[in-house]
Amino acid sequence: MPEELNSQLDIFSELGMENTPEQDKLIIIQTLQELLQERIMLRLNEILNEEQKIALSKYAEENKDKELSILKFIMDIVPNYEEISKEEVLKIRQELIEEYNANKKSV
C-alpha cells in the first residue's frame, strides 16, 4: 500500500484550505467523487475483458436500483477493486496538489 495512505492530513489542509466554508468543501468533494468514479470506470474498462463487461452491464441493467448488489458483483470479479479505487484517489490527490500549488505560484 502506498505510503500516502497513512497520511491523516485531510485534503483541504494539504491544499491550505482549512478555512474554506463547509459548503464549498462539499462541492469540491462532490467533484472529486465524480472524477474518481470516472477514473475507476475507465480503469475497469481496461482490466475487464469483454465477457466480464457484458456480464456486468447485463447485471447492472437488471438490477438498476440495487447498487450494492452491483457493487458486490464488481468486487467479485475484481477482488482488488478497493485497492484500485485507493490508487485512483491518490493519483487524483497528487495531481490536484501539484497543479494547485503550481497555479498558486504562478499567480
Binding site: D24, E34, D65, N103
Partner: protein, 855 residues
C-alpha cells in the same frame, strides 16, 4: 502729446484695475482708492504684481514662457485700439480734432507700448521673485528639481511648489486668501480689458458646473450608517461617532464640490483660469483655507455685487443692498439685465445649497468634537478603537472569504479539466448510468478515508450521494449529475434537497438531517435506504472503506432483498477470476518503432492464431504497439476507435468463430443455472446489433440477411465449417418459428421466403385470412426460449439432453467448438396458457398493429 496720451492710457488701465480690485475686494484695501499720484499708483501696482508673481506664472503652464509682446490678445487688439482712440478723444477734448486724427496712428502704437509696460514687469517680477535665493532654494528643495526656471516646471510641480511654499513659509490663512484673491484681482483686470470690448460675453456662468445635491437623502444616510450596522455589539454612541465621521467626510467632499462650483462660476465670469488654479492649490493644501463657508460666502457676495453693478452700471450707488432693491424693482425688460439676473439667482441658489451642506457638516463635526473632546474623550476613543478592531476583523474575514472563493474556483477548475466526456464513458459502458452510480457509492468510502475528509463534509456528501442514488429510474443519475454540474458552474452552494445542510454545520443537526433524509428514502427503496443509513452513519463516524460499508450492510441486504436468486445466479454463473488471472496481455517481441517485416508478420500471425483475432484487428494492435500508443496488447482491446470497427466480430470476449482458450469451460458454461430469459426473439424487429461474418455477410440474430436486408437466407457454404453451422442453426430456428406461423409458406433456393412480405418479419400473431386464406393454430404458438447471449453462437448438434421444466420442453445442446472448449445452449419450447397466453396475445396484437403500419 505722446507723453500725455501714454499717461492717459496708463491711467485708464490702472484705474480700471484698481477700481475692479476695490469693487470685488473692497475689504482687502490692497489699493487705496483715495487720492494718489500716478507714479505711486504705478509703483504700487508693480509691487503688488511682484507679490503675486508666483501665482501669475500659471499663465505659462504647458507652454514656453512667452515674451511680454506675445501676451497681447490679438483678437481684441483692434477693439482696444478703437477704445483707446475713443478715450483719447475724450481725454483730449481740448486738443483740436485734426491733431487727434493725425496722431491716431501713434496712439495705436503707443497702446502696444503701454501693454508692454504692463506685462514687462510681470516677467521681471517673476524672475525677480524666483531669483530670490531663499525662494529658489525652497522650491528646488520642495519639488526636488534642479531647474531654476520656474516656467519650465509642469503645472503640477508649480502647484506643488507654491502650495508647499505657502505651508512651509507658514503663511497665515488670511495671507493665503489674500494671495489667492490677488490672483483673482489680476484675472479681473484682464477680464475687464476684454470685457470692455466684448459686450459682456465673458460673463458666462455655467450652470452645469453646479452640483444638484442639496442635502443627504435617506438612502445616502443609510449607506453612511451601513458599515457599522453590521456590528450588533457596537455601542450606540460609538456607532454615532463613527457614522458622524463618515458623514463629515462625505459632506466635506460635497460641500467642497459645491464651493468649487461657485468658484468656477465666478472664474467663468472672468478669465476661467485663476479660480481653477486656486482650486488646485486648495486641494493641495486643504480646503479650509479658501473653501470655508466664510471665505466662499465672501467670495459669493463679491460676485453678486459685481453682477449687480453690471446690471446697473449707471447707478452711482455702490451699496449692495441698494442694488439688490433695484434688482427687485427691475421689470426684467432689459435682456442683458435679465441674463445677469439669472446668473445672480443661480449664484444665490448654489450658495444656499453650499450653506445647507456646510451646516450639516458642522453638525457632524460637533458630534465628533463632543465625543472626542468631552470629559470622557479618552475613554471614548479607546472604546472606539476596540470596537473598530472587531469591525476591521470583519473586513479581514471578508477578505479571507474572497481568497477562499478564489481557491475553491481554482480547485474546481483543475478537477473539471480532468473530467471525461460522458459520451466517452458511455461508449465503454452499456449501462453507464447504473454502473456509475454504483461506483460512486462504492468509491465514496475510499475517497473519504483516503483523503481524510472531515466527517461533517463526508457525511453531507454521503447524504447527497445516496439521495441521488435513491431517486431511481434510468435517468436519475444523469439528472443528478446535471444538477451538480450546474452547481459547480454557477457557484451556488450545495443544492439537491440538502437545503438544511447549507446553514447547519453542527454535527448533531447534521445527523438529524441525515436521519430525516434516510427516513424519506426508506419509502423509495428499502435496500437503498439501508445503504444510505449505513454509509451515512459510517461517514459521520469517519470510518470509511468499501468493505466496511459492505460488511455493515450485507446483512441488511439479506434480510431485505426478496429476489436474491437473480443476483446469485449471475454471480454463480460468472464466477470470474480476477483480471490479473484471466487477461493475459501479449507483449510483442519487437521493439516499438523498430519492427522488421518478419517480426510484423510473426506477431500478427501469433495474435490471430492464439487469440482468434481477425487480421485487421491484429494489424491494428501491432501497429499501435509499434507506434508506442500501447505498451502491451490486450486481446480484448476495442479497436473501434482506431479506425477499424471490427469489435463487433467479438462477442462475449470471443471471436465469433473462436473462443478464448484461457477461459475455463466449467466456469463459463453453466447454462442451466442462468436465469430464465422471458420472451422470444422478435424477428419483426431489426437486430439492434447486426454483425458481419468472416465473408462480410450481414447477420441479424445470427441469420444471414440477403441483399438490401430484405430477407433471411441460408448461410454461404464457402464459410468455415463452424461458422456455417452456427448460421445454419440460427437460420433453422428462424425458419421453424416462421413456419409455426405460416405453415404453408414456401422458400426459395437461397432460403428466403416466397411471399410478398417483408422478410425477417415472422408473423407471430393470429394469421387468420392474412396469408392465402390460411390460418394458424389459435391455441397459441410454440415459443422458443433461448439464452440471447448464445443466439449468435448457436451451437450445432448433437443434442445432448432433452427434458421438461415448468411445462416447457428443454433441449440442451453441447457443442465442442475446439480447443477443449464446450458450449451449451438450452432451447425451451412449449404451449402457454392462462395468464401467460393472455400476455402473449397482447404482445401479438401490438405486433399486428406494427405490421399494419408497415404495410
Amino acid at each position: 502729446m505722446k507723453i500725455l496720451l501714454i499717461k492717459n492710457l496708463n491711467r485708464i488701465v490702472l484705474k480700471s484695475v484698481l477700481n475692479k480690485g476695490n469693487c470685488f475686494y473692497k475689504n482687502m484695501n490692497s489699493f487705496p482708492k483715495q487720492e494718489i499720484s500716478e507714479k505711486d499708483l504705478h509703483d504700487q501696482y508693480l509691487k503688488r504684481e511682484a507679490a503675486i508673481a508666483s501665482f501669475l506664472e500659471h499663465k505659462q503652464i504647458n507652454k514656453p514662457l512667452e515674451t511680454p509682446e506675445k501676451i497681447n490678445i490679438p483678437e481684441t487688439k483692434t477693439k482696444e485700439e478703437i477704445k483707446i482712440k475713443e478715450e483719447s478723444k475724450e481725454e483730449s477734448k481740448e486738443e483740436s480734432k485734426e491733431e487727434s486724427k493725425e496722431e491716431s496712428k501713434e496712439i495705436i502704437l503707443e497702446k502696444s507700448e503701454s501693454i508692454k509696460k504692463i506685462t514687462t514687469p510681470w516677467k521681471k517680477i517673476t524672475k525677480g521673485l524666483f531669483s530670490c535665493n531663499e525662494a529658489k532654494k525652497t522650491i528646488k528643495k520642495l519639488i526636488n528639481s534642479k531647474t531654476e526656471d520656474f516656467s519650465k516646471l509642469t503645472e503640477d510641480q508649480k502647484i506643488e511648489a507654491i502650495s508647499k511654499l505657502i505651508i512651509e513659509k507658514n503663511i497665515e490663512e488670511e495671507e493665503s486668501r489674500k494671495m489667492a484673491i490677488e490672483i483673482l484681482d489680476y484675472e479681473a483686470k484682464k477680464a475687464e480689458q476684454r470685457e470692455t470690448f466684448t459686450e459682456d460675453k465673458s460673463i458666462e456662468i455655467k450652470e452645469e458646473d453646479a452640483i444638484s445635491k442639496t442635502e443627504l437623502t435617506q438612502d445616502e444616510i443609510r449607506e453612511l450608517n451601513k458599515p457599522y450596522s453590521k456590528l450588533d455589539g457596537m455601542e450606540d454612541d460609538v456607532k454615532d461617532y463613527l457614522t458622524a465621521k463618515n458623514k463629515f467626510s462625505y459632506l466635506e467632499q460635497n460641500s467642497f464640490e459645491i464651493g468649487k462650483s461657485l468658484m468656477s462660476m465666478s472664474s467663468n465670469a472672468f478669465s476661467g483660469i485663476a479660480s481653477s488654479f486656486i482650486l488646485n492649490i486648495t486641494k493641495k493644501i486643504g480646503s479650509d483655507i479658501i473653501m470655508s463657508k466664510e471665505n466662499v460666502g465672501k467670495h459669493v457676495e463679491e460676485l453678486k455685487y459685481d453682477l449687480l453693478k453690471k446690471m446697473f452700471p449707471k447707478q452711482k450707488v455702490l451699496d449692495q443692498t441698494a442694488l439688490e432693491d433695484l434688482l427687485k424693482r427691475d421689470s426684467g425688460e432689459n435682456k442683458k439685465i435679465e441674463k445677469l439676473k439669472n446668473q445672480y439667482n443661480s449664484i444665490c441658489n448654489k450658495f444656499e445649497e453650499f450653506k445647507k451642506l456646510t451646516e450639516q457638516k458642522e453638525s457632524a463635526e460637533l458630534v465628533i468634537k463632543n465625543f472626542e473632546e468631552g470629559k470622557d474623550g479618552k475613554e471614548n476613543i479607546k472604546r472606539t478603537k476596540e470596537q473598530e478592531k472587531v469591525y476591521k476583523n470583519l473586513d479581514n474575514n471578508e477578505l479571507l472569504n474572497e481568497i477562499n472563493k478564489e481557491n475553491v474556483a481554482l480547485v474546481l477548475s483543475i478537477l473539471e479539466k480532468k473530467r471525461f466526456k460522458e459520451e466517452t464513458l458511455e461508449r465503454f459502458w452499456k449501462n453507464y448510468g447504473t454502473i456509475a452510480k454504483t461506483i460512486t457509492i462504492g468509491s465514496f468510502g475510499v475517497l473519504a478515508s483516503t483523503l481524510a475528509l472531515p466527517a461533517v463534509a463526508a457525511a453531507a456528501v454521503a447524504t447527497m450521494t445516496f439521495a441521488g442514488a435513491y431517486t431511481g429510474g434510468a435517468t436519475a443519475w444523469k439528472n443528478f449529475r446535471e444538477v451538480k454540474k450546474d452547481i459547480s458552474k454557477n457557484g451556488n452552494r450545495i443544492a439537491f434537497d440538502s437545503e438544511e445542510l447549507r446553514n447547519e454545520t453542527d454535527l448533531e443537526k447534521l445527523k438529524i438531517s441525515l436521519k430525516n433524509k434516510i427516513d424519506q428514502t426508506k419509502k423509495i427503496n428499502n435496500e437503498s435506504a439501508v445503504i444510505g443509513l449505513a454509509a451515512g452513519v459510517l461517514a459521520i463516524g469517519a470510518g470509511f472503506g468499501i468493505k466496511s460499508i459492505l460488511g455493515s450492510i450485507n446483512n441488511n441486504i439479506e434480510n431485505i432483498s426478496t429476489n436474491k436468486t437473480s443476483n446469485e445466479n449471475y454471480l454463480n454463473t460468472y464466477a470470474f477470476k480476477p483480471q490479473s488471472e484471466t487477461v493475459k496481455e501479449y507483449i510483442p517481441k519487437f521493439t516499438p518503432g523498430k519492427v522488421s517485416d518478419s517480426e510484423w508478420i510473426n506477431t500478427r500471425t501469433e495474435l490471430m492464431n492464439n487469440y482468434g483475432m481477425s487480421k485487421e484487428k491484429a494489424e491494428t494492435l501491432v501497429r499501435a504497439f509499434n507506434r508506442g500508443e500501447i505498451k502491451s496488447i490486450n486481446p480484448y482491446q476495442d479497436v473501434s476507435d482506431k479506425g477499424l470497427n471490427i469489435s463487433k466480430e467479438w462477442l462475449n470476449g470471443k471471436h465469433i468463430n473462436q473462443v478464448e482458450k484461457n477461459i475455463p469451460v466449467e466456469k463459463v458454461i453453466e447454462v442451466e443455472s442462468l436465469p430464465e430469459i422471458k420472451g422470444v426473439i422478435d424477428y419483426t424487429q431489426s437486430d439492434p446489433n447486426p454483425l458481419k461474418d468472416s465473408l462480410g455477410h450481414k447477420l441479424e440474430y445470427g441469420v444471414p440477411v440477403g441483399e438490401g436486408g430484405k430477407a433471411f437466407i441460408l448461410p454461404d457454404k464457402q464459410l468455415p465449417k463452424n461458422e456455417y453451422n452456427t448460421q445454419l442453426e440460427a437460420y433453422n430456428n428462424w425458419k421453424k418459428d416462421f413456419l409455426n406461423r405460416w405453415p404453408e409458406a414456401t422458400f426459395n433456393e437461397d432460403g428466403s421466403v416466397k411471399a410478398n412480405l417483408k422478410p425477417g418479419l415472422a408473423y407471430v400473431g393470429k394469421m387468420d385470412g392474412i396469408l392465402n386464406g390460411t390460418s394458424v393454430k389459435s391455441s397459441g404458438p410454440e415459443i422458443v426460449q433461448s439464452n440471447p447471449q448464445n443466439i449468435v453462437n448457436n451451437v450445432q448438434n448433437p443434442v445432448v439432453h432433452v427434458g421438461t421444466e415448468g411445462g416447457l420442453t428443454t433441449k440442451t445442446t453441447v457443442e465442442d467448438i475446439g480447443g477443449g472448449v464446450k458450449k451449451t445452449t438450452t432451447i425451451k419450447t412449449g404451449t402457454l396458457s392462462g395468464k401467460e397466453l393472455e400476455e402473449y396475445n397482447k404482445l401479438n396484437n401490438t405486433r399486428e398493429r406494427i405490421r399494419k403500419m408497415r404495410n
